[in-house]
């Protein structure tokens, strides 16, 4: 009968000396790739938003923000404008361009709670013209 050579058990060890380096590399990677969202100016402060209960969460990457200030100034991409007449189609043009870039765009309104509804109505009318139909009214969570 052939004799089977039994291999001798060796001490197997995984070197762990570089574990710290790996962890720090990971840390550095996340620190370098993190991008902080920065807005040039916060035109309507959060405490001026209306309060609501049935709030949904909307991921930021598909959104465009329209600020509507109390004096009915409308800001898209920090460019102020005002809707004075029916022929004024600034909002429509701006949103049509955004819709072309991202068809799944959600338009978020950051409107001062004291704003008159007429201004919002005019903006929404132009959103319909631009076919950007999904909107969100940003609000603070009510207790």
């Amino acid at each position: 009968m052939a004799k089977i050579n039994r291999t001798r058990d060796r001490d197997i060890e995984i070197p762990q000396g570089s574990m710290g380096d790996i962890a720090f590399l990971l840390l550095l990677f996340f620190m370098v790739t993190t991008v902080f969202v920065q807005e040039k100016q916060f035109w309507v402060e959060r405490d001026r938003w209306p309060k609501a209960q049935s709030i949904e969460r909307i991921p930021r990457n598909n959104t465009a923000t329209i600020y509507v200030m109390k004096n009915e100034t409308i800001l898209i991409d920090d460019v102020p404008s005002k809707i004075e007449s029916e022929e004024d189609v600034y909002v429509r043009n701006a949103l049509t361009a955004k819709k072309a870039e991202n068809p799944e765009i959600v338009v978020c309104f950051r409107t001062d709670r004291e704003t008159k509804y007429g201004a919002m109505s005019d903006v929404m009318r132009q959103l319909q013209d631009a076919q950007t139909l999904v909107v969100a009214f940003e609000a603070q969570q009510r207790d």
Partner: protein
């Protein structure tokens, strides 16, 4: 005189736990990172009727059993269907919406807001409708 010289010991900083420290840092940042999301009331506006410009858009009359009118006036009072304008508090508004939804699951709520009414008043009504799971909400102005 002979001065006793201290023997130099081998100085070393223990580095075995650096990995633990680094992982703790990673875990800390992972657990405290908050992804930026927006919070608000989401609504889908109706598309423009294709030939509304030529005035051909079809209009249908809906009775009170199918549609509820909530007209918000400048001072924040609400006209419910054909009732007199009055201030409706949240709890009462909830009860009205629930009752209407029990009558008809597909009830359409038409929120008509005065151009001079406050945005806050409109949001309050839409929020109540959303909170009561009303799905068919229409916004308009006069």
């Amino acid at each position: 005189m002979k001065i006793a010289r201290k023997r130099k010991g081998k100085a070393s900083i223990p580095t075995a736990s650096t990995a633990d420290i680094a992982f703790l840092l990673i875990v800390f940042f992972m657990s405290t990172t908050k992804f930026d999301v927006k919070e608000g009331i989401k609504l889908v506006l109706p598309a423009m009727a294709p030939d509304s410009a030529e005035g051909k858009a079809e209009t249908i009359q809906l009775g009170e059993d199918k549609m509820t009118r909530l007209q918000i006036l400048e001072d924040g009072t609400i006209i419910l269907n054909k009732e007199a304008a009055r201030r409706i508090e949240d709890a009462e508004l909830d009860a009205i919406i629930q009752q209407k939804l029990r009558q008809n699951q597909d009830m359409i709520f038409r929120v008509i807001t005065d151009r001079n009414a406050k945005y806050d008043d409109m949001i309050r009504v839409v929020d109540r409708l959303k909170a009561q799971k009303a799905e068919k909400i229409s916004l308009s102005t006069n």
